[in-house]
Symmetry: C2
Subunit: 217 residues, 2 copies
């Protein structure tokens, strides 16, 4: 069965930020706002944390399987962080964008860079979320109560590493206020959907105008 | 007196379309929507039409003066159309964007191209408005009742010439419905204002985060 041709190709919408800047909350709100959005579930070799659900939070896979996916070109991007592999499986993304559905990625700067440099680069919209302050990030990591001081220091270093790559993104937002940032994200996504490259039907429309003009003259 | 530093540099917002596609109405609505927007009043050597007001609809100038402005580099763009010169004076635009005000241009593809290729190119947002049909454009020209058949044919040719340059723009909208197109324009302008290049204060914010991070570690 041939799928119905989508009016436009889907976008790859990438959200990056240091952990604790509000990105996951914002991603959840965007998913609730637009049910046509598809979330890109990452694959990882790390152990599930309590409450995490396989295939919803992550595809939890073994290292051999992860490496096999990479070798077969089935990962859009992948990285090695704190001793574990993380990556975005390609097949669900391909299926979604061919059907005209946008896919939301919650990934770090390395993943964002790999996707931008891939064949899907022209179809990406990348947005970086900056925290209002470092103190706020630190407070959230401490309050989570999961990590010892050494791990927290390592995470803060990772956060700064992430922040230092802020300037490769299409848009950068300072998340002073979650509601405002949510509105800004929606505006950006709506505008991007109006972009020329996203609207193959424009070429058809101009061809129709041309033949109408030729009929007239 | 040093002017207050603007939070961001203003944008050059260019609207182009064949005449009769609704561009002037849309420009008027945008001006009513956002009073910080400044309209770029064109200069022209053509005679004023009944009801047109100097310095509001156009700067009506003689050919010698127009040529002098061009020679002095005081025109952002200019073109020769149907025996008359048209152009966008640069000084009011410079003043506005330095003060962080966006400037709206109602100009044709030649003017849009000249501005995009100028030093101000990186600060432009260009939007092309397509008509739903050629018949509609033709009807509006005939209904205006100002022109004979030959002039109408010439204007239709000019309209097609304009339409054929649709694909050099950042955004292209089909004006099926004025209200919808107005909403789309507002979304596009709001998103563009959030763009990285438009927000010099981001660099300051990241520098502040960096020093907070260094203080912490």
């Amino acid at each position: 069965m041939t799928p119905p041709q989508a009016d436009r190709r889907g976008l790859l919408i990438i959200l990056s930020s240091p952990s604790g800047a509000g990105k996951s909350t914002l991603a959840r709100r965007l998913m609730a706002w637009d049910e046509t959005l598809q979330f890109s579930v990452s694959a990882t070799t790390r152990e599930p944390r309590p409450g995490e659900v396989n295939e919803k939070d992550y595809f939890f896979v073994g290292e051999a399987e992860f490496r096999k996916w990479v070798a077969e070109g089935r990962m859009l991007e992948h990285a090695h962080v704190f001793g574990n592999f993380y990556g975005s499986p390609q097949p669900p993304v391909e299926t979604a964008i061919e059907a005209g559905r946008d896919v939301l990625f919650d990934i770090d700067w390395q993943g964002a860079q790999q996707i931008r440099n891939s064949a899907l680069g022209p179809y990406t919209l990348s947005i970086f979320i900056l925290p209002p302050s470092i103190a706020e990030l630190h407070r959230r990591l401490v309050n989570r109560g999961q990590d010892d001081a050494e791990t927290i220091a390592k995470r803060m270093q990772k956060s700064w590493d992430e922040i230092s790559h802020w300037d490769g993104y299409d848009y950068v937002l300072i998340n002073d206020d979650l509601d405002e940032t949510e509105e800004k994200l929606k505006t950006i996504i709506k505008a991007e959907r109006l972009k020329f490259a996203q609207q193959p039907r424009l070429s058809d429309h101009v061809r129709a105008l041309q033949s109408q003009f030729e009929d007239l003259t």
